[in-house]
Subunit: 357 residues, 2 copies
DNA sequence: AGTAGCAATTTGATCGATCAAATAGCACGC
DNA sequence: GCGTGCTATTTGATCGATCAAATTGCTACT
């Protein structure tokens, strides 16, 4: 019969104490409040701790301290027909920073949509996690209210879109992002810059649309009609982009609210024999894995997910230690990753956009 | 001052016992060994448990039972210039099945490459996790030996490529995958089917190459020279595919060992004015998010990650409860997702592949 | 009626750490 | 010489559950 697990459990604090010739509490202090020990004792104790490879038992510590050092993160099913979520990059950054702050990330997922909140409830009641990180928060998000009512600690990736919400949050400025895309396109000589965006009822979509429009106005090239809206699917984006491209005075560049939409736009271009980056410039949003690999490379707005994660963890730490941070939320600035779909030379060469002056 | 956390901690077993007029242990039994209670007592106790919303405290339970019900999963930095890892889909499936089996997934990440194993050590010593799930195991993987030596329970996503390893594993048959792609291409009329694969020293790459070659032989269309190798990057794949396409008798279809490589191939086609799916058929591997959204849609081999996750969790459960499973490992079969890059009608129409008979 | 044999339930001990309070050690001043 | 006032360290209690053993309650049999 095969032997099983469990053999790697280390020594207990009691055994270490005995080996070092001191008491339990002194071992505990050496690790948790070293300033309480005399220098020589500390050194000796830490030596023994190191020799025996002692690490305090999590369960025991958690029980006594009434904490778990775990942070719950709910993940959604990966949507097919999406350019790939931010999850990958964000998750890695979040784990890295969390571990740096002494926390670990615990994943959970709703069994079915009904018990979306049951997962929170379960983890809180069993003291399995100390706090949550929420992503994709939206107007009227039931999670925000549910957690808020119960005074459960959490930090949201997503600003509070409605009034009266006072939770800590971190978000990325979508308007600045699409603004960067427009700036870049204008610098390349584009004057007719369209938008393929999300439906009007999406706050995030409105944010990105506003950035596009404001920047166009700023550059004196605004045409509010040069836009189409659809949900975040490539097939819909193909149709939406088609409507713009087949118009009487089509855009020479299209700013998209997501990489998924941008991929649909690329499809619409291909259908019409137009070359992305050469005949029509395209920008996406999120810098998803697909953006980097699709030929000729999709220019895209990149969210600073590493900074988002860092800020979230900082806020979590403050929340759980009752510290006050100067700001409840933080709005971070994205950057633009330029690739082939806004190729400078090609676009200028093929498309004399100054012709209408 | 804002109130903080912790207010949602539920009642203790002691309080529930008092409320129900029974002892601690009876509450415990009601939840863990209901057959020990008389039917009427059970019903009454469960009623009280439900009324008070009692859930046993994790830390206390973990301490007594010497388990954590957590499974560690190490995640790697998301590689730029990759079509998007499997992580998204796999992770979700793994979490879902784990929760179904009473486990949660705990993420960790190596701070720096050196302490790749330090993370394991830490989690084991602190009794933070009961077991691990490993992904991307490879020949000579230090993790396999390290965990094996310590008799730490784990299940690998990836078969043992070297002899002498006796750990539980689940994997996907790559050879069958590329074989499916070839079958499909042959059915479309293709006779010159090339391969863009990974370097020779990759076991996974060899597996996928073997599937391509065997299928070609089976169909009597084998040309072992019709292949190129490079690492998993689009830029290298573009060059590699270029060498094949610019040859004297170029392939009409290219099977790729990954979606990343396939995206590079699409780039090479675009450079040459060739249309994917129409002039040259292309297949990828992994059915990454990018495959679904890149125009005209990348035909790709899809790994049954949901089944992989289920099998892994089943094996974890057996491992942790000392049960014996009939098989130590399981090899699952992928499927082919057909999209525009192997468009039937277009390919047949434009490319009379029978011409050389 | 008395009691053996079970079934149902309760009591005491324990998991391994930390908190709070008590004690030991030590220098210093009067 | 002896208490004062520290600092360093130890002791006792506790977190909330489960395991193991003891006890109570019942049924059935002689």
């Amino acid at each position: 019969m095969r032997q099983r697990s469990g053999e790697q459990a280390g020594p207990t604090i009691e055994q270490v104490a005995r080996a070092a010739g001191v008491s339990r509490q002194t071992i505990s202090n050496a690790l948790n409040a070293p300033e309480r020990l005399r220098a020589d004792t500390l050194q000796r104790v830490l030596g023994v701790v190191d020799d025996l490879g002692y690490r305090p038992n999590r369960a025991a510590r958690n029980l006594r301290r009434r904490e778990s050092k775990l942070v719950g993160l709910r993940i959604n099913p990966a949507d097919q027909d999406r350019a790939g979520s931010l999850l990958d990059r964000f998750l890695h950054a979040l784990v890295e920073h969390s571990v740096g702050a002494g926390y670990h990330i615990l994943l959970f997922t709703p069994r079915d949509p009904d018990d979306e909140l049951a997962g929170f409830d379960d983890l809180l009641r069993t003291t399995a996690v100390d706090a949550f990180v929420l992503t994709d928060t939206h107007r009227g998000d039931p999670r925000l209210h549910w957690l808020g009512e119960r005074n459960a600690p959490f930090v949201a990736f997503g600003r509070p879109w409605e009034d009266g919400l006072m939770h800590p949050w971190v978000d990325v400025d979508g308007a600045v992002g699409t603004g960067l895309a427009v700036d870049h396109l204008v610098a390349l000589g584009h004057r007719r810059i369209g938008l393929v965006g999300w439906p009007e009822d999406s706050d995030v979509g409105q944010d990105r649309r506003r950035g596009w429009l404001d920047a166009c106005v700023r550059h004196g090239v605004a045409d509010p009609d040069l836009r189409a809206h659809c949900t975040d699917r490539t097939d819909e984006a193909m149709l939406a982009a088609g409507r713009l491209l087949d118009g009487s005075d089509p855009p020479t560049a299209l700013v998209c609210a997501s990489d998924t939409l941008a991929m649909g736009v690329l499809g619409a271009l291909a259908e019409r024999g137009l070359r992305a980056g050469r005949d029509v410039a395209v920008t996406g949003f999120d810098d998803s894995p697909a953006a980097a690999v699709v030929p000729p490379g999709l220019t895209s707005v990149r969210q600073p997910l590493e900074d988002v994660a860092e800020s979230i963890v900082k806020r979590l730490g403050a929340l759980l230690s009752d510290e006050q941070l100067p700001e409840r939320g933080e709005l971070l600035t994205p950057t633009l990753v330029v690739r082939g779909t806004t190729d400078h030379q090609r676009t200028l060469g093929k498309h004399p956009v100054e012709e209408d002056t």
